[in-house]
């Protein structure tokens, strides 16, 4: 996820524009070095083992290396080797940005140093960025004080990456008391203090999003497309609820619903814009 995090940092600090970042994400796609692929190349894992680990990761909020060690597929030395190899992800990003003329190599290098300093990442722990410090880096991106909301957004970010697309960055969250949405997919997480959660997505982006999640080509916004989006928030909230339950917080979920042309009113409605490879969506949270 280094590419997403650092891309987000470059955007937030006006080193590159949103349009340029989109182009970077598009062009970097084919050159991403995945841990699984490196492990296969190194002869540490078979492709079947990598698929098994990836499938487990879809259900549990665990890192690739963590699962591989648990399954005894990799030992610590092998994991360290592939993590070291994967560090070159930042070189691929650098190459993509510099080749397209968005930054010079000096500007990239200076921005990277600034990024490490701001996120308290030492040179030694740089290789842990994609693994050990993911949550902390996401928390730093989210300028909201409430820790539970930060955790919720971080998991949503990771689930977008897991189930929809690697191309994702978020903009500064806003707080409103009223807003109208074309399509709103909402679900309440019920515990001592309920959490209202929803996401909103428009027309063509909804088609792209639902096609990606369902694995089927969806060309019209029909009952099935709506159902796919409701199931996405249901799955995400299910995983969030499991995380909460593991921390001793009991929660239940209401049935997800879709509202069309709905005006949401309330105190402190947080809206977090997500810009993804399949379009724009807004995550909405009210505590």
């Amino acid at each position: 996820m280094f590419t997403q995090f650092f891309g987000q940092f470059l955007l937030n600090n006006n080193y590159i524009s949103a349009e340029e970042l989109k182009k970077v994400f598009k062009n970097i796609k084919n050159t991403r070095l995945r841990l699984g692929m490196i492990a296969i190349n190194e002869g540490f894992l078979t492709s079947k083992q990598v698929v098994e680990i990836n499938n487990l990761q879809k259900k549990q909020d665990k890192r690739f290396g963590e699962v591989a060690i648990e399954f005894n597929y990799l030992n610590e030395n092998e994991l360290n080797t592939i993590l070291t190899k994967q560090q070159s992800e930042h070189l691929i990003l650098a190459e993509t940005i510099v080749n397209q003329g968005f930054m010079t190599i000096e500007e990239f290098s200076s921005a990277l140093t600034e990024y490490k300093e701001k996120n308290c990442i030492s040179d030694e722990s740089f290789d842990e960025l994609k693994n050990g410090k993911i949550d902390e880096v996401i928390y730093n991106m989210i300028k909201i004080d409430d820790f539970e909301i930060k955790e919720y957004i971080a998991l949503f970010y990771k689930n977008i990456v897991r189930f929809i697309t690697n191309d994702v960055y978020i903009s500064e969250s806003i707080k409103v008391n009223e807003k109208q949405f074309k399509y709103l997919f909402e679900q309440n997480i019920v515990n001592e203090k309920s959490l209202y959660t929803a996401f909103s997505i428009k027309d063509n982006d909804l088609l792209l999003f639902s096609s990606k999640y369902s694995g089927e080509k969806i060309e019209v916004i029909d009952e099935f497309a709506i159902d796919v989006c409701k199931e996405f928030i249901n799955l995400h909230n299910g995983l969030f609820t499991v995380n909460m339950s593991n921390k001793g917080k009991k929660c239940d979920l209401d049935i997800p619903v879709c509202k069309e042309n709905h005006i949401l009113k309330g105190k402190d409605i947080y809206i977090i814009p997500f810009h993804t490879g399949v379009g724009e969506l807004e995550l909405i949270i009210v505590k």
Binding site: G215, E231, T241, V242
Partner: protein
């Protein structure tokens, strides 16, 4: 062997049905909530049931409770994104035989079908 899929999500029912049909010559019936699942169970007498938890009208745990009262030998596997200890415990208490965390993989589905198809 007949399998009943009960889930309020059309996408999940479609995906599960495709996976099951891909795994072998099984007969599949569907229900979109707990109430329909009970009626379908009584009519179709499936050998295995995959049951979601969060559903409108009657949830999965309520439906399992009623199906088990009708047929104590019913084999029902819970299938949910909310794989909490509390839900697992509730489901087992009313008589579910297993629990699968969503998203579902074909391999996991295959294992449960193999496990509960013995004697069918």
């Amino acid at each position: 062997m007949k399998i009943l899929i009960c889930d309020d999500s059309m996408m999940i029912r479609r995906q599960l049905k495709n996976m099951i049909l891909n795994l072998g010559d099984y007969e599949v019936c569907e229900a979109s909530n707990g109430e329909i699942a009970i009626e379908t169970y009584k009519e179709e007498k499936p050998n295995l049931v995959y049951m979601d938890i969060i559903m409108p009208k009657l949830d999965g745990v309520g439906a399992v409770d009623k199906i088990i009262k009708f047929d104590p030998k019913a084999q029902i596997v819970m299938l949910s994104s909310v794989g909490t200890k509390e839900n697992l415990s509730k489901a087992i208490k009313v008589g579910a035989v297993d629990f699968i965390q969503k998203p579902v993989e074909e391999e996991v589905l295959k294992n449960t079908i193999n496990k509960f198809s013995k004697g069918v």
